[in-house]
């Protein structure tokens, strides 16, 4: 039996591992710039989808269904992003006789519309953050302004189809509203093909806490210990941990119970996550549901020992859940994940696409690395710049932080810039160490920062000057020596020119 993995990068690699563990064959798909990518190399077979832009490749439902037919795959795993929360894709899989590894198209549609999901939560007695109905991308200015008045400032504009911080804007005062709404709508249109947005009141310094769950086809729904994802940059999670810092035991169980009620209301199957905001007084509000595997699922796996992706596949194949909720809600130790992006933190986190010349991966007890690239791989400009996720586990949060520091120091990626220097800085911040953070913490401290995350020492400057001089010297020598066919420098340079 074969699984078509309808994704790329680290998550495709993660899903391939789960397929292997279950003895399932792996069919990869790729765009033109990903032909030699790691997820392709790890697969049994690989099918071309189209040119590099995602709208012409990873977002093309017809091309993916066609690849599944040609390969004889019987399951399709969407990963996260791309088509993972597109009900039309889940439906197209079903119509083609393929098993979609995820919830039903109906459940995706009902929970994927963020405003409809809020109604469902209210219907089962779970509180939501006050918000507006959706407005169209070209809604008149007056309508947007009037809707904002009903919510009050500060507020958040969110894409109805949103996720990953795309199509999301904070509006502090009325003067910013219309421009922010237009920008959110255009970003939502290009990221999700749906420009509709809505507005929501912004709580003051809330924490982001979420409940992972998984449901089988016999109506069993098992919730997991919460994850905390309060460290966010521009509404994008960058550090996630489990369990949350100082969340009372009763709150955990109340949240898990609320999450299960919401999932049950839509007959939810497979893996999903219910996100909540926790206010300073400890009350929590339903935020949204992600009807798919989450980027940050490894922290849950680390503290429960459960392989969530294997369970996704097993449930999709009709197996019954045998997980004990008493165990999945009781964490063992503490886990923290850092999302490593190909971005230059010292230049405002600008994307840094290009050739990854080498990767030195940390290891040791309690250290896990999920990675989509290795030496010689390319980080294309067309997709999300997440290249790896570093997850550490420790008996306590303090032990996990100590391991995280060591692992971050060991981790080295060359050829492109990464957010590793930023993480080395972050994990030494007193607020992070104390766990005294909210969703506004990181943007707040970054706004006032100008200095680089790592200050080079005099020794490092001298070493760099020597290294640059020697490299330049050798490059010049190699261009002069035409007969030097064995020079590794020359071979490397020639390879570069072929790229």
């Amino acid at each position: 039996m074969k699984v078509l993995v309808a994704n790329r990068g680290e998550i495709a690699v993660r899903i391939i591992r789960a397929c292997r563990a279950l003895g399932l064959g792996v069919v990869a798909v790729y765009s033109d710039c990903d032909r030699g990518a790691l997820h392709v190399r790890l697969a049994d077979e690989a099918h071309r989808l189209g040119p590099a832009p995602s709208t012409e490749s990873y977002l093309r439902i017809d091309a993916i269904i066609d690849a599944a037919r040609r390969s004889g795959a019987s399951l399709v795993h969407p990963g996260y992003g791309f088509l993972a929360e597109n009900p039309a894709f889940a439906d197209a899989c079903r119509q083609a006789g393929l098993t979609f590894v995820g919830p039903s198209a109906d459940a995706i549609a009902r929970m994927g519309g963020k405003t409809a999901a809020r109604e469902i939560a209210l219907g089962v007695g779970v509180p939501v953050v006050p918000g507006t109905p959706p407005f169209e991308a070209d809604a008149p200015e007056a309508e947007i302004v009037a809707a904002a008045e009903t919510v009050g400032y500060p507020l958040l504009i969110k894409a109805v189809a949103g996720g990953g911080g795309k199509g999301m804007r904070t509006v502090e005062w009325p003067g910013q509203l219309v421009d922010a709404a237009r920008r959110a709508a255009s970003e939502a249109q290009s990221a999700f093909g749906d420009g509709r947005c809505y507005m929501e009141r912004r709580l003051v310094e809330p924490r982001h806490v979420e409940i992972q769950l998984i449901g089988d086809h016999g109506g069993r729904i098992v919730p997991f210990v919460e994850r905390e994802c309060s460290i966010q940059r521009r509404h994008q999670k960058v550090v996630e941990e489990s369990p949350a810092v100082a969340l009372p035991h009763e709150t955990r169980h109340a949240m898990a119970d609320a999450a299960v009620r919401i999932a049950r209301a839509v007959g939810y199957t497979n893996a999903g996550t219910i996100e909540f905001l926790v206010d300073r007084d400890g009350s929590f509000y339903f935020l949204e549901m992600n009807t798919r595997l989450q980027v940050e699922h490894p922290v849950t796996e680390a503290v429960t020992g459960v392989d969530l992706v294997q369970w996704q596949l097993r449930v999709a194949l009709g197996e019954q859940l045998t997980l004990d909720p008493a165990r999945t809600l009781e964490p063992r130790g503490h886990a923290i994940e850092c999302r490593v992006y190909a971005e230059d933190p010292d230049r405002g986190f600008l994307p840094s696409p290009g050739l990854v010349t080498s990767v030195t991966v940390p290891s040791g007890p309690g250290v896990r690395d999920d990675r989509g690239v290795t030496d010689g791989d390319d980080v294309p400009v067309y997709y999300d710049p997440l290249i790896a996720k570093l997850t550490v586990w420790g008996e306590t949060r303090g032990a996990a932080i100590a391991r995280l520091r060591q692992a971050l120091d060991e981790y080295r990626v060359t050829g492109v810039h990464t957010t590793l220097p930023f993480f080395r800085w972050l994990v030494r911040q007193p607020a992070f160490v104390a766990g005294a953070v909210s969703t506004t913490y990181l943007d707040g401290v970054l706004a006032g920062r100008r200095e680089p995350f790592v200050q080079p020492t005099e020794q490092q400057l001298r070493d760099a000057a020597i290294a640059a001089a020697v490299a330049a010297w050798r490059a010049r020598a190699d261009t002069r020596t035409t007969s030097s066919g064995t020079s590794r420098w020359l071979l490397a340079a020639r390879k570069e020119q072929l790229r």
């Binding site: 220097p421 400057l461 000057a465 290294a467 640059a468 330049a472």
Partner: protein
């Protein structure tokens, strides 16, 4: 060979002489002279072990290791990545910053930091901009990135239009 290297705001003159023997051919004598303090020159003899996209240097006197990934970039720029720190170096005086930098004349050239699409121009020629003000929005890797003016000035030239695809390094606008 002697070159001038600027890195992290410091300038060094580096002289290299091959002193290798048949047994150890890749041994180089390196004289490193800070240009702001020429008397503080440091002479080292190092083994040079080239690797793909980098080199490992081992000092023959104290056996210290320098493990550097080195990548040539356009216009005499080099990216030098040591464990824990990424540094940009320029060799032989080609020190004009590629982007964002404020030249002596007070001119700022806002250039595309990566390939992408010009989503929105937020200013027009003749506009006065403040330091840190967003002037253009570039879309790349599915995210919108607002580029800002490093210092206050007046927009003198806009070299692109909205919707245009741009390569890394392409001049977007000029501020004086």
């Amino acid at each position: 060979m002697t070159v001038d290297v600027e890195v992290g705001g410091r300038a060094f003159r580096v002289s290299l002489t091959r002193v290798g023997t048949a047994d150890a051919p890749d041994v180089v004598r390196i004289v490193l002279q800070p240009l702001d303090d020429p008397d503080a020159a440091d002479t080292r003899t190092m083994h040079v072990e080239p690797r793909a996209h980098g080199l490992t240097l081992i000092d023959t006197s104290d056996d210290r290791v320098i493990d550097a990934a080195v990548l040539a970039r356009p216009h005499g720029h080099w990216l030098v990545q040591l464990p824990g720190v990424d540094l940009s170096a320029t060799i032989d005086g080609r020190r004009r910053r590629e982007s964002g930098g404020t030249a002596a004349s007070g001119e700022q050239r806002i250039t595309a930091p990566m390939p992408g699409r010009v989503l929105r121009l937020l200013v027009a020629v003749g506009d006065t901009v403040a330091a840190g003000q967003a002037v253009v929005v570039i879309e790349a890797m599915k995210m919108e990135n607002a580029l800002t003016a490093e210092a206050a000035g007046v927009v003198r030239e806009i070299a692109v239009e909205e919707g245009m695809s741009v390569e890394a390094g392409r001049l977007l606008l000029r501020i004086e």
